[in-house]
C-alpha cells in the first residue's frame, strides 16, 4: 500500500513535470504571438493529460515519461531546478582583550545579575516582521521536536528537543552554575548594552554573513561586551537573519564554533533546522560552570 502510494505520488510528479514542460513550450509560442493563454485552454490541456493518466497503465506512463525526459534533456535549455533553498550562511567570531589583541580563548559573559541588555542598530530599515524575527531568536521560549535522523544524530523516530530562542533555551537549565547564567534579555537603546546587534546593508569583505566581536574583561576571565554584525541584511530573508542572530548570539554568550556540521554553532550554517540543541546547552552549562568549552564533549 505504501509502495503504491509512493509510486502514485512519483507518477504525479512525473506528469506534472511533463505538463510544466508543455506549458513552457506553449507559453514560448504564445509569447511569440503576444497572446495570453486562457484559463480554459490550460484547464482543458490538464484535463486531457489527466484523462490519459487515468487510461494508461503505470508502466506505460513511466516508459512515456522516460522517453519524454530523454528528449527533454537533449533539447532543454531551461533547468527545472527552481528550488528556493537558502544558501549556507557563513559566520565568524573573534575574542579580543581590552587592547584589541585577538585571543584564542572562550569564556562566559560577565553578569551582575541574570539579565542581559541588548541593543539593535538597524542600519537598513528592516520591516517589523524581520525585527520581530530577530527578537524571537533571543526571546522565544518555543521548542521544536526534531527527528534525530534528520540531523544525523539518532535513529528515526527518536526525537530531540530544540529551542527557537535563547531565553527558552537558557531557561531550561535549572542546575546552578558557578558563574551567573543569563536568563532574561532586555532590549535597550543604550550604547552601554552588553550585546549590540548591528544590521548593515554592505557586504563583508571576507564574505561572512555574520560576525561577533567580543571584548574580554581586564583579567581576560569573562566577556564584557559583544558586537554582532549581520551583513547584506537587505538582501536576506527574515528567516536567514533570524538564523544568523541565533548563531551569533551563541558567540556573544561565550560559545565557540561546533565541529558538528548539522549544529546551529557550525561555522557555516547549513542545517534546515538551525535551532538551539541540547548539546549546545550542555556546552553552555559547562562554560558557565567554569569548564572551558575545549574540555567539553557533547554527550547528547
Amino acid at each position: 500500500m505504501k509502495t503504491e502510494y509512493t509510486q502514485d505520488l512519483e507518477l504525479q510528479r512525473i506528469l506534472l513535470r511533463e505538463i510544466n514542460k508543455k506549458l513552457k513550450s506553449q507559453k514560448a509560442l504564445q509569447n511569440k504571438d503576444s497572446a495570453t493563454p486562457s484559463f480554459g485552454e490550460l484547464q482543458s490541456m490538464c484535463e486531457q493529460i489527466t484523462k490519459s493518466q487515468k487510461r494508461a497503465s503505470y508502466k506505460t506512463i513511466l516508459a512515456v515519461a522516460a522517453i519524454l525526459s530523454v528528449g527533454f534533456l537533449a533539447t532543454s535549455f531551461m533547468s527545472l531546478d527552481n528550488s528556493n533553498e537558502s544558501s549556507p550562511l557563513s559566520t565568524y567570531y573573534v575574542v579580543e582583550n581590552v587592547r584589541g589583541d585577538k585571543l584564542g580563548i572562550n569564556t562566559h559573559l560577565a553578569l551582575s545579575d541574570d539579565s542581559v541588555s541588548v541593543r539593535i542598530l538597524d542600519r537598513v530599515g528592516l520591516d517589523a516582521p524581520t525585527i520581530n524575527a530577530i527578537k524571537m531568536a533571543i526571546l522565544s521560549e518555543e521548542t521544536v521536536e526534531i527527528d534525530g535522523s534528520i540531523t544525523h544524530k539518532t535513529r528515526p523516530d527518536d526525537y530531540s528537543t530544540y529551542y527557537v530562542g535563547w531565553k527558552g533555551a537558557l531557561g531550561s537549565i535549572t542546575e546552578p552554575t558557578k558563574n551567573i547564567l543569563p536568563k532574561s534579555f532586555v532590549f535597550s537603546d543604550s550604547s552601554n548594552a552588553q550585546i549590540t546587534i548591528e544590521i548593515v546593508g554592505h557586504t563583508n569583505p571576507d564574505g561572512y554573513d555574520g560576525i561577533t566581536r567580543s571584548i574580554l574583561s581586564a583579567d581576560n576571565n569573562s566577556i564584557t561586551k559583544s558586537h554582532i554584525t549581520v551583513y547584506n541584511a537587505d538582501k536576506k530573508s527574515s528567516n536567514e537573519i533570524e538564523t544568523i542572530i541565533r548563531h551569533e548570539f551563541g558567540h556573544a554568550l561565550g560559545l565557540k564554533h561546533s565541529t558538528d556540521p548539522d549544529d546551529l554553532m557550525a561555522p557555516t550554517i547549513t542545517s534546515a533546522y538551525p535551532f538551539i540543541s541540547e548539546c549546545v546547552l550542555e556546552g553552555l552549562f559547562h562554560l558557565y560552570d567554569g569548564m572551558s568549552q575545549e574540555e567539553y564533549e557533547c554527550k547528547s
Binding site: 510528479r13 506534472l16 505538463i19 493563454p37 484547464q43 489527466t50 527545472l80 521544536v144 534546515a272
Partner: protein, 125 residues
C-alpha cells in the same frame, strides 16, 4: 483568468520535489508562489511574512504538521482560504481538518483540473 493581478499563494509540503514541481506548475498557470516551506512551523512564518490569498498545506509533515499550521494560520486570519492536501482518506482526519477551519481538502494524488478550479474559486473572492 480575467484578473488584474495574479493569485498569490504559499505552498507547504515536506517533500521538496513536490513543492518544486507543484510551485512551477502554479507559476506556469499565472499563480504567484510567494514562498514555500517544508514544515508547519515555517508555514506559519511565511504566512505572516507574505499574507497570501490562498494557502496550500500538506497535512502529514514531520515535527510541526499541517494540523498545527492550519490551526495557527486560522488564528491569525479567520478568512484566508486554506487548502489542505492529504493522502489520508479517513473520516477522522477530514473531520479534524474541517473543525480546524480548512476551506477545502484535496486528496493526493490530486486531480489537476480540480486544483485549478480551486484556485479559480478562491482567487475570485
Amino acid at each position: 483568468m480575467n484578473r488584474p493581478t495574479f493569485p498569490q499563494v504559499i505552498v507547504v509540503d515536506d517533500d521538496e520535489a513536490t513543492v518544486e514541481v507543484f510551485s512551477e506548475y502554479l507559476e506556469l498557470n499565472n499563480v504567484k508562489v510567494l514562498a514555500t516551506a517544508h514544515n508547519g512551523f515555517d508555514a506559519v512564518k511565511i504566512f505572516q511574512q507574505n499574507r497570501p490569498e490562498i494557502v496550500f498545506i500538506d497535512v502529514m509533515m514531520p515535527i510541526y504538521d499541517g494540523f498545527y499550521a492550519l490551526e495557527k494560520i486560522r488564528e491569525i486570519d479567520p478568512d484566508v482560504p486554506i487548502v489542505m492536501v492529504t493522502a489520508d482518506l479517513s473520516k477522522a482526519t477530514e473531520e479534524r481538518l474541517v473543525s480546524l477551519g480548512a476551506s477545502k481538502i484535496i486528496y493526493k494524488p490530486f486531480d489537476i483540473p480540480e486544483l485549478l478550479d480551486c484556485i479559480e474559486t478562491y482567487a475570485k473572492r
